[in-house]
């Protein structure tokens, strides 16, 4: 595999919780500029893998390489600094902050103003602050939330909260955006809007890693998918091929995939 083409590689990831093996030697590789889908039945270990990839859990074994650099045992904030941003399955916005402020927090990792700059309001700090605000507004606009800038995050409708999480993640200038069930709980119109947004993000050169239960969405969007079951990868490939895979069909009992 030409390394330039691969953005993220996870090799032999093992994660145990007490006696329970949540991930048993999972390997995936995500290519630059693709949408990579991660599917599997409930409890298959998708979110656990996400948490390992984004530094929230340390893997018990295995290695992670992002953009040619190892990110073993990273802390979440270092992972974000490397260029991986994420959203959460059960939305985790900063409820007491406005939509705009939520996105502005996302700029933290790419800005530098310290205590002194903030207190003295130095020229540099003021310029940076203006840039933060401007970029945050752009991103809100980008995600279709411009009208919501001043609302508290917790007061937003559900679909807007999902998109705000994406805007906040984009604010960290990620090269890989990891979305944990972005369409969960959305109606058809909202899902359609989301789909457009994701395609637009891809078009802007950001690689997407997607956990999704909405098979239509994930199969329609993803260039490639990996299927997890009981902590192991049972298939990886293009959606059409994976859909025909016998192991995958068994795992889903023919249910949603047909």
């Amino acid at each position: 595999m030409p390394p330039a083409d691969i953005l993220l590689t996870a090799t032999g990831i093992i994660k145990n919780f007490g006696g329970l093996t949540a991930l048993n030697g999972v390997s995936i590789s995500v290519r630059r500029g693709e949408i990579f889908g991660l599917i599997g039945p409930n409890g298959a270990g998708k979110t656990t893998l996400f948490n390992v990839l984004t530094g929230i859990y340390a893997a018990d074994a295995g290695e992670l390489v992002f953009d040619g650099r190892p990110v073993d045992g990273s802390k979440p904030h270092l992972v974000a600094q490397h260029g991986i941003a994420r959203t959460f399955q059960n939305i985790r916005l900063f409820g007491g902050m406005t939509a705009l402020e939520n996105v502005m927090v996302g700029r933290h990792v790419r800005t530098h103003t310290g205590v002194l700059g903030a207190v003295l309001r130095t020229r540099g700090a003021a310029i940076e602050e203006r840039a933060i605000t401007q970029r945050a507004r752009e991103l809100l606009d980008y995600c279709g939330l411009a009208a919501r800038a001043g609302s508290l995050a917790r007061d937003l409708p559900y679909g807007d909260q999902r998109r705000l999480e994406i805007a906040r993640a984009l604010a960290t200038d990620p090269r890989l955006l990891a979305l944990d069930e972005p369409a969960a709980g959305m109606n058809a119109t909202e899902t359609a809007t989301l789909r457009k947004l994701l395609e637009r993000i891809l078009g802007d050169g950001i690689t997407l890693l997607l956990i999704e239960h909405d098979m239509k969405l994930v199969m329609g969007l993803s260039h490639r998918v990996a299927v997890l079951d009981y902590g192991e990868k049972i298939a990886e490939g293009e959606p059409a091929a994976v859909q025909r895979d016998a192991k995958v069909i068994t795992a889903y009992l023919g249910g949603a995939l047909v």
């Binding site: 929230i56 904030h77 959460f88 502005m104 001043g150």
Partner: protein, 352 residues
Amino acid sequence: MSASAPWRRVAWVVIALLLLAAPFLIEILFGRTWVRITDVALLFIMLALGLNIVVGFAGLLDLGYIAFFAVGAYCYALLASPQLGMHWPFLVLLPLGAMVAAVFGILLGAPTLRLRGDYLAIVTLGFGEIIRVLLNNLNRPVNITNGPQGITLIDPLQIGGFSLAQTHSFAGLTFTALHNYYFVFLACAVLSIIISRRLEDSRIGRAWVAIREDELAAASMGINTRNMKLLAFAMGATFGGVAGGLFASFQGFISPESFHLIDSIMVLCMVVLGGMGNVAGVVLGAVLLTVLPEALRYIGPLQQRWFGEVFIDPSDLRMLLFGLALVLMMLFRPSGIWPARRRKAEENHAAG
């Protein structure tokens, strides 16, 4: 925005003039006692704003905050009194006190910040007690703090030959020590407000609030939560350290008795009552809780007059009210008596 600007300017000028005239007005209206109470209130504003950074912004419940006040006070007292025979100038001592307090903040924070919020509360409480017990006992085997006897004859603030402890006349006005200190404390309090506001509206402040709202999400957005929390502790401690130094010079005497747990709780009450994380509310809380107990003093004699005996100690009543206030605020108005977040949200909206 532009239409209201002149009015705003006028309002600010009026407020500034009132603040400058305040000690004289207060002295005439209520007597010098209340000038002293105002001075103390200004000190508590600084303290409450410091704790607000830790509790209000970053959401870390610190029950031993008064320890930083103590550290600042002892730092000043030891280096500007006959205790160790040193008399350093305050321009060196106040920053030094702030720094030492900040170091203590980091020392406390480093091992404990990964603990859950409620453990942190208990550990900080323990830290507060440890500091007090240490100050009380560092008089043997070598006498450093003079133990429970406290340190006396602490130097007043002095600029050149101008001592704040003496009465001066200027432009026909009499500036007693109380007045002089008022202006120094006022300057420091205003500075604290400005620093708090600017931090709040900065990258740093947003990171703190993000940690308070959801630590994991904040970390995932690239915020180094451990460092930011340490920074919050250090910043909060800095405020306490400076206030402590000012307190020592103002009182001229300090002893470990001034730094009990109850004083930590009192500052916490100011923050909670005013509205955690809201600078204006916290200032209001500090003023209310300094003035209210003084007003409650009249309840004792009133009871005596009306009923012929005192049924309830004013200080007990005060504590009961504090306790009740903490419970009721949390149950019914967790954002404090002056919630501001929403107002700010609207402002942002309007500006766009």
